[in-house]
């Protein structure tokens, strides 16, 4: 087991290093002026441009820039943001981590509790009217573009009925010294609409995966045998069948784990949610190389971590997969 884990981690580390190098040089090869946003459509004299290029190291060849980046990375310094100058990249990214984790966790939680439960519920009622209707509803949600659904929810729930805020992470008037409970409730109110939007458009996938996998397992002999022994249906499903129907859902979970850090660009934009997805989109739009590099590394790290955790879960569920 340990040897397997070491091999898996080594592979992930090498992949991560390759991704880092490729990302760095790919970004520099992309056309675009990273200093464009700093002059704010005002004429920038050449001397000022030279000064700014020197600050961000853009006056150096890409190889030197890469060496500096690696040197900084080792010391935990990802440099200074261009778009958010003079803020440090780590501060800019850190300010977005909590909102991203909250939204990502909320969405994953809804997806992999309600979604799994709905999948099991439908599998047990396969072919019945309730199964057909739930499938239609879930697929309708899946077919909706997230930004459209988000805009609709904002227009109705926030702007028209004023039940929940249209966007943001907290109320702007929330006191700096607000209690934990007060702040938590405020964040929760802001979290509902983006979570709902992302969950509605994605839950169908989890439900369908779980439903299909469980239907397949429920046909197996050992499940029939359990039923023949007179066990209650709920016990047959949850104790005997469900565990073996988890593999596809786990794969899905691994694929979606990066949402914790990458967020959803569209939903973050519509709800003014200050997450990492929107930050990455801003960094791409302004060629803020340092921030772009940090968000890309976080995202690729999350993807690799998702893969490792999924493999671990496979091994936990079925130790034979180690040798695969």
């Amino acid at each position: 087991m340990l040897a397997w884990l070491a091999r898996r981690l080594a592979l992930a580390t090498v992949t991560y290093a390759v991704v880092t190098v490729v990302l760095f040089f790919l970004m520099r090869a992309t056309p675009g002026d990273p200093l464009q946003r700093l002059d704010d459509d005002r004429p920038m004299p050449p001397a000022e441009r030279e000064r700014l290029e020197a600050i961000f190291g853009l006056d150096q060849p890409p190889l030197v820039q890469f060496q500096r980046f690696l040197g900084g990375l080792v010391q935990g310094d990802l440099g200074t943001s261009i778009e958010f100058y003079p803020l440090k990249v780590r501060d800019v990214v850190a300010s977005r981590v909590v909102p991203s984790l909250l939204l990502g966790t909320a969405v994953l939680l809804v997806n992999f509790t309600l979604g799994v439960w709905l999948g099991v519920f439908q599998a047990r009622r396969r072919g019945k009217a309730v199964d057909r209707w739930l499938t239609r509803i879930a697929l309708t949600g899946y077919a909706m573009p997230s930004f459209w659904l988000g805009l609709m929810l904002v227009a109705l729930v926030a702007v028209e009925w004023r039940l929940l805020p249209a966007g943001g992470f907290t109320s702007p008037l929330l006191r700096a010294d607000a209690s934990f409970a007060e702040r938590g409730l405020d964040v929760l109110r802001h979290l509902i609409l983006p979570t709902l939007t992302l969950s509605v458009v994605t839950i169908a996938v989890t439900t369908r995966y779980q439903r299909t996998a469980l239907i397949e397992v429920l046909r197996r002999d050992y499940v029939q045998a359990a039923r023949a022994r007179g066990l209650r249906e709920a016990r047959v499903v949850w104790r005997h069948a469900w565990r073996n129907a988890l593999f596809p859902v786990l794969t899905l979970f691994g694929l979606w784990l990066p949402i914790l850090v990458t967020g959803s660009v569209f939903v973050e934009e519509v709800f003014a949610w200050p997450g990492l997805g929107g930050l990455a989109a801003t960094a791409i739009g302004s060629r803020d190389y340092p921030v772009l590099m940090a968000t890309a590394l976080l995202a690729s790290g999350a993807v690799l971590l998702g893969g490792v955790l999924t493999d671990l879960a496979y091994v936990w569920l079925d130790p034979r997969t180690q040798s695969a």
Partner: protein
Amino acid sequence: MRPSPRILLAIAALVLAGPLPAQRAATDHGTITIVLGREPTLPVPLLSYASQDLDVAALLFLPLARIGRALETTREDRFEPGLAQSWTRRDSVTLAFDLDPRAKWHDGKPVTARDVVWTLAQARDSTVAPVTALLLRRITSVTAEGDRRVVFRFSHAYAEQMYDAVFHAPPLPSHLLAELPFSEIPGSAYARAPVGNGPDRWGRVETGRQVELVADPSFFLGEPKLTRVIFLLVRNAEAQINMVLDGTADAFEGFLIARDIRPVMNRPELTIRTFPSLSVGYLLFNHAAPGDGARPHPILGDPNVRRAIAHAIDRPRLLRAVFGPYASRAEGPFGRASWVRRIAPEGPDFDAGKARRLLAESGWRDSDGDGVLDKGGRPLRLSLNYPGTSIPRVALAEPIQGMLRRIGIQLDLVRLDGPVWAQRRGQGQFDIDFSQASLDPTPSGLVQSWSCAGIGGTNVGRICSEAFDDALHRAIEAAGDATEPWRTAIRTLQDQTPAVFLFSPADVVVLHRRYRQVSFRPEARWADLWRWSVDPARRLPRDEPPKP
């Protein structure tokens, strides 16, 4: 008689409920939450020129004097006192400012002449502040006479001395900064929580979310009534409007096109305020071959083609369709708020017939009947570069293409990612560039982008005309009334047709109606916020001071 339990209960309820709403509302103090599209990360004068930083800095820092509301940069009698309570002209090259003795930094220290001298010394040093050093090149010395008087000396007599002295470099606190190398200030603790001398002091920042300023009740020009000023950061245009519509924010400012305004119209609690801006949008012609500055542009090098394009565009129709009432025609490289706009001659009018004649004069004919003119086998085909992130420019590009098609010009629209657009613009890789610039109130900045001296810098269209350079020099250096020299300079520029000056968008502010004494300044939108108050009858719960 013993009061009944019901009466006692009612009295108790009244006592516990506190003062009646009407009594609570007897004050005109309140809060304001303003939606900003970009994050103010360095709201300190001299250190940043980004508009979001300047918006916040205008509340934290006062200049020696504010330019008058008509933005007449050449009229020193129209300036309004700021940190300086008065100023006197000693001779044609010397101005003396007397600081208001009540002016204080937010840490309680008095604002002194030393602060002004130190700040101007930094601003005039080209190694630390190249932008301002260029703008302040005609100031030869700034000296203190005691604690309260500062004397500016200029290289020669010219009309904008007062403007140069007060506009570009509001004083910074030398007692906090003088020990730091200037280049280290952006990364210092000071830049994270600036100490200013304006009506509001730094409150707190939540990176990526909001910046909060708190009114300074001891502000020497009067107590600000808006006790909390919150700048809320929202990048997405739809979300920005939604935050005002759902009552999260009180104000949103931007260059809006007509369709953005519609949802606001139905809200009785909101109002739309507009004021002229210093922004201008124009089609910039490349006078040189794209990517080869040494050769003239094969098509646009001919002034007749440039003039034909200018006459082919029906600007009033275009602006009505896209902006509604929220933009006006531009007559030169300056916004509607600029004082020279009021004296500028009108630019070329829409005249498609004249446009066709000009092209015919230059030998352009439709010899193959495909609807596109040609000459020597070369079609009259040009490209228009524009950033896809600019809503007005995206909306205007197609109608312009249609207007040029009618006179036989094929215009290829090249919608680009912002940084790519900027890169191609900077490298001169374009035929026509759809530019938009926010300018300072002074027209003197035309030197940078429209004169021969700007080639290799911000004159990316490589425009060079000796006649215009001479006229511009005379206007900038004019002492006394500069109106006529400026009119001549603008007319000379218009004759060269270096660009089609299309529009100056109005600054549009969507605002809650409860505010009174509302006014805006084109050069510093929110600088007058400290004069605003809240109508006591319309106060909202969010106007209450935060409860401990």
